[in-house]
């Protein structure tokens, strides 16, 4: 084993400083008293107070959460179905086209996805609003969900499923009682991924939203074009905080389930031996 050199330590320190300092500065200056964002004038939480009185931001936040919740839920259902078809579906007509349509949105520039969906909604005369953003977000995030779920589906031992079928389960029961619990962590992380992708999306939402359905990123973007403001810093701090708590909790929970599962497997093995 080679030693961890001073060069390695420096790269890690500088690398993580680069990744985290900008966000740290943002968080610190959200507690700045002054409206001038680059001059420190003492600690204050007044920008948080102002943020919570800003109706436009609160409305946008509510629209964003609604869109993210529904689109990630639909995307999880559709994406899991698509993953199942890709991994277990066998051959069917147009399978290549299907897998192409699953992978293409992952590499598609957002401006093109947004433009094409908007042109579709106009062509079929659909009024733009929360509904159209949900449809758009579902479409691109179901592809991410399906990639996450299909890698889990491909890696697990299929004989467990076959055993359930042999023991008299209907295919649906086998899926519900055996497959679903096994792929559940991937389905949950797929949902979380879809949720954050939707929360974060500016470009596709800008194309597909209507006048009454401004999302938070659209609001932030139009405010940011006028420069840095302490309210946006406060809002960013709240969003960073939520994500950090969410990701850390999720990884702790998954770590605990993993240790539990490992312990259960060891116990099962010991019982076998007895």
């Amino acid at each position: 084993m080679r030693r961890f050199s001073w060069f390695n330590a420096t790269s890690l320190t500088l690398g993580f400083a680069f990744l985290y300092l900008p966000m740290l500065i943002l968080i610190i200056y959200s507690f700045n008293e002054s409206r001038l964002v680059t001059v420190w004038a003492g600690f204050s939480t007044k920008w948080y107070g102002e943020l919570f009185q800003n109706e436009a931001f609160l409305d946008a936040a509510w629209v964003t959460v609604k869109v993210a919740f529904w689109s990630s839920t639909f995307a999880t259902v559709l994406g899991t179905m698509a993953a199942y078809v890709l991994v277990r579906g066998g051959r069917f007509l147009g399978r290549t086209l299907f897998s192409g349509m699953i992978y293409a949105p992952l590499v598609m520039p957002e401006v093109i996805t947004g433009l094409s969906l908007l042109l579709l909604f106009i062509a079929i005369g659909m009024d733009r609003g929360v509904m159209t953003i949900v449809l758009a977000h579902t479409t691109f995030s179901m592809c991410y969900v399906s990639v996450v779920v299909s890698s889990r589906l491909a890696s697990f031992d299929r004989s467990v499923e076959e055993a359930a079928l042999d023991l008299g389960c209907s295919p649906f029961d086998a899926f519900r009682l055996v497959t679903l619990p096994i792929i559940a962590p991937a389905v949950i992380s797929g949902w979380l991924l879809a949720f954050t992708l939707s929360l974060d999306d500016l470009v596709i939402a800008s194309f597909t939203s209507g006048p009454s359905s401004t999302t938070l990123p659209i609001r932030i973007f139009s405010a940011v074009r006028l420069g840095v403001t302490p309210e946006i810093n406060a809002l960013s701090t709240i969003m960073i905080g939520i994500v950090t708590v969410g990701v850390v909790t999720a990884s702790l929970v998954s770590k605990r389930t993993m240790t539990h599962r490992a312990a259960d497997e060891r116990k099962a093995e010991q019982n076998d031996k007895l």
């Binding site: 690398g15 094409s116 579902t138 479409t139 990123p217 960013s236 990701v247």
Partner: protein, 298 residues
């Protein structure tokens, strides 16, 4: 073929067909239409009520006028070339920044690696827009970077970084860094250290052992990471419009402006079609690389 299986295949298939494939058809169609002062702002529109004659009339009016326009106006040429240039330089810079990080992660004690991985992934979960926004305060003329540099006496005049291509490079490196670090780390982690010892025993200096052994063994990660940065950077809109200046030409921004500011839908669609054609090359190369990787592992 039972009902359940048909249902399982049909639902996601039809969804993607209706909301992914058909919209592309519409983009292609509008790219061949002409702009007009109407709602929707292009002609011809397909009139189903006239049946086949209506369709023939419609198809006859489609032409490549918009593509000829894109070819004749050098704004678009420059925007495409400048996107490729900005994406290439940023990819190279991301590689130079990301490689030492991935290398150090692979060298860290095994019990530390999951934490280091999570620290690299965590920023990816926080809002892209906010991460880009954070750099405005750092790079502006009165920003923190200039304050520090002036305070240290390194410069007298503030450096103009914000609203130039430099800010765009920094923004792309910053936001896409995890995409570069993770594949390289995955490749380096699998590497067998005894190869390096063998190289040194056979008389290689540490540097040439790194150059002749480590770099070739991590090539798959380098290639994958570079594509993962280059492909999205090429069509990037948010970074050039927030950090870049009026002189920063990127095709994603041009498309946006054609659509929202000039309301020229046919030209915006033609720009999209060409962007797609340019992207096909790196995407196909990327998939071929992934496939080779999978075959090598089997």
């Amino acid at each position: 073929m039972n009902i359940r299986r048909i249902f399982l295949i049909a639902v996601p298939y039809l969804w993607l067909g209706a909301l992914f494939l058909i919209p592309f058809g519409i983009v292609f169609k509008i790219a061949l239409s002409d702009g007009a002062l109407a709602i929707p702002p292009y002609i011809p529109t397909l009139d189903f009520s006239q049946g086949w004659a209506g369709f023939k009339d419609f198809a006859g009016k489609l032409d490549f006028e918009n593509f000829r326009f894109l070819a004749s106006d050098d704004l678009y040429w420059k925007a495409y070339l400048s996107s490729v240039k900005i994406a290439s330089i940023s990819t190279l810079a991301t590689l130079l920044v990301g490689y030492p990080i991935a290398y150090a992660m692979a060298r860290a004690a095994p019990e530390w690696r999951p934490t280091l991985m999570m620290l690299v992934i965590l920023p990816f979960w926080t809002s892209f827009l906010i991460r880009v926004y954070a750099w405005i305060g750092i790079l502006s003329n009165e920003g923190y970077l200039n304050q520090i540099l002036i305070g240290m006496g390194l410069i007298d005049e503030p450096l103009t970084i914000l609203n130039t291509n430099w800010a765009v490079y920094i923004g792309i490196v910053y936001t896409y860094l995890p995409f570069m670090v993770l594949p390289i780390y995955a490749a380096l982690e699998k590497m067998d250290d005894s190869l390096l010892e063998a190289a040194e025993d056979l008389g290689c200096s540490r540097f040439s052992a790194f150059w002749l052994v480590t770099i070739p063994l991590s090539k798959a990660g380098i290639v994958a990471g570079s594509f993962l940065v280059f492909i999205p950077a090429l069509g990037e809109f948010v970074i050039p419009s927030i950090l870049g200046g009026s002189k920063t030409l990127m095709i994603g921004k041009v498309l946006w402006e054609e659509f929202f500011n000039n309301r020229d839908w046919p030209v915006a669609s033609a720009v999209a079609v060409i962007l797609l054609l340019i992207l096909i090359i790196p995407i196909v190369l990327f998939q071929r690389n992934e496939q080779k990787q999978r075959e090598a592992e089997e």
